[in-house]
Symmetry: C2
Subunit: 127 residues, 2 copies
DNA sequence: ACGCTGTCTTGACGTCTGTCGAATCAGACA
DNA sequence: TGTCTGATTCGACAGACGTCAAGACAGCGT
């Protein structure tokens, strides 16, 4: 984890900043890496990757915790913990409506991560 | 880390398999998540994200460890450890040529990760 | 007001991770 | 052969992570 915690907690990378040219096009500077790495890290757990997918692909763009939890062989607190991790990485938003809490994906940051990873169709060896 | 180690060590996801529809389009199944999550996890450290970028954006598509190491305030063994992590996640390949070891990105897996994260321009709430 | 249900927080546990120094391995060159 | 340089492996340590049980909190219904 390279020591420091980084600010996180809802990184400012939620704005519509175009942000980052592809990782393979220009060297990612340390500051950018420090901001983006936590997002990748959050996706680096199978459970969270599935949670993220379930949320992002949900019918109305949002998913209830009550639907998420029973999809895994894990306790409620554990799922809650993973959701918190996704929240702190800026990947999802939570909203309580009455009894239930709904999670919603943040497409912007997903787009940024995808852009960072994107490779021009034939850029394997560009020279 | 969700307990089990998974096979890793060079996941078979290096083939040209189209692999995965976007995460926001269909629920990522557990098996897919188990295979892909380690790749995201490997990118989930600022140092490795920079290493990956330096390798992928290198002049001839490859970077020498001797150029990578001095770019960080970290010891050789530590950089070597991170490179091993990237290697085991299937993100890079290593080749020794004489005295030096060169690392090269695997564009296919990067493309797969990018595809998984990709979002159709206006799919925020598709209904 | 009371209890019920759904969700989150807290505290604890074992494991994994990032880092280093020391030792080891792999080639190059005398 | 011996030695030098570059890279990896080994062993150790502090800190972070994933998980759970127990408790706390928030709304709803009675």
């Amino acid at each position: 984890m390279s020591k420091q915690r980084a600010p996180l907690a809802v990184i400012d990378l939620n704005a519509d900043t175009p942000c980052c040219p592809p990782l393979a096009q220009r060297r990612v500077p340390a500051e950018t890496a420090a901001v983006l790495a936590p997002a990748f890290k959050a996706l680096g757990d199978p459970v969270r990757l599935q949670l993220m997918s379930m949320i992002a692909s949900a019918e109305d763009g949002e998913a209830c915790v009550c639907d998420l939890t029973p999809a895994f062989d894990l306790t409620g607190p554990t799922i809650s913990h993973h959701l918190k991790t996704l929240r702190e990485a800026g990947l999802v938003d939570a909203e309580r409506r009455g009894t239930w809490v709904y999670y919603r994906a943040r497409p912007q940051i997903l787009r940024q991560l995808a852009a960072l990873l994107s490779i021009e169709p034939a850029a394997t060896a560009k020279a």
